[in-house]
Assembly symmetry: C2
């Protein structure tokens, strides 16, 4: 598997502005952050690449969990009380700290997108934006493993996956 | 936006094995690759992180478009005949070459996942695996901008977004 050795260098294309300043209390998924609004500030020189995005009701944000702790192969997820394999969870302490959230696109002003449903920490580096396309992305009946039994449980983070800082003050 | 300056270094966690050897003819989304099977070979040392994934019917693959051409702010997408802003498309020629596909998980043997619905080129470096959770990810009625009018059109790539190579032979 020679491709494993290679490094892939990414650069943020913008930053996410949200009211969530600390991991503790931040909703663990946009589903639980329905009313949380914020902004996606894309680098000004990339504004031409945002053309036509306005017609999409939702967009994917791909971002860097820049305050995540180091990779752990097993974690106790927010909505469970036993360890699960990291790849069977959406916890931030991943080998590559890639986050993925779908948010509702409210409006665009130039290079700034107003969005709703933010479960992302303020200041998070943005790596990509993709349109949400139900034909590709929506599989409402897909079985969700251990999460099936946990639907109504924990909905906010408590800081357990973050390396340091203000989360512990809460 | 100071975070823009910072580089983020990622390393592949595995490789995707598929029958698609050239961009031309590769389905543009898993929706059009329903019967295409292949393997996700995760680095052996990460096998513990795959625990519990077996219960999920679908998984997200986050990968690197390693054969994509350079970033272009506007592209003519596969399913359109006019230019669109890159971020309003799923085209590979992105500022950060991040690909995102949901596939059906058929089985797991140690560090190897058998999957169906592959729209990904053979040898593609894998960056992350996440469980597909309908509660978070499925929004079947979300408006899809310019794609709404294009549902039944082009379903295979023709190599237009790739830097070189065999695509042009087809």
């Amino acid at each position: 598997m020679s491709s494993e050795a290679k490094q892939i260098v990414m650069r943020p294309i913008g930053v996410i502005r949200s009211p969530h300043r600390t991991p503790a209390g931040t909703p663990i998924q946009p589903t639980y952050a329905k009313d949380v609004e914020g902004e996606v500030v894309v680098a000004a020189e990339l504004e031409p690449a945002l053309a036509d995005i306005d017609g999409f009701e939702r967009i994917w944000l791909v971002y860097c969990f820049d305050r995540a702790g180091p990779f752990r192969p097993r974690v106790v997820p927010y909505r469970d009380n036993q360890e699960r394999g990291l790849f069977a969870t959406r916890a931030p302490s991943r080998p590559n700290p890639l986050g993925l959230s779908v948010v509702r696109l409210l409006s665009r002003q130039g290079n700034v997108l107003r969005v709703r449903g933010l479960d992302i920490l303020d200041g998070t580096p943005l790596l990509d934006i993709k349109p949400y396309v139900p034909e590709f992305d929506a599989h409402p009946d897909s079985e969700a493993g251990w999460l099936e039994a946990r639907r109504e449980e924990r909905r906010e983070a408590d800081g357990r996956f973050h390396s340091s800082g203000p989360g512990s003050k809460r």
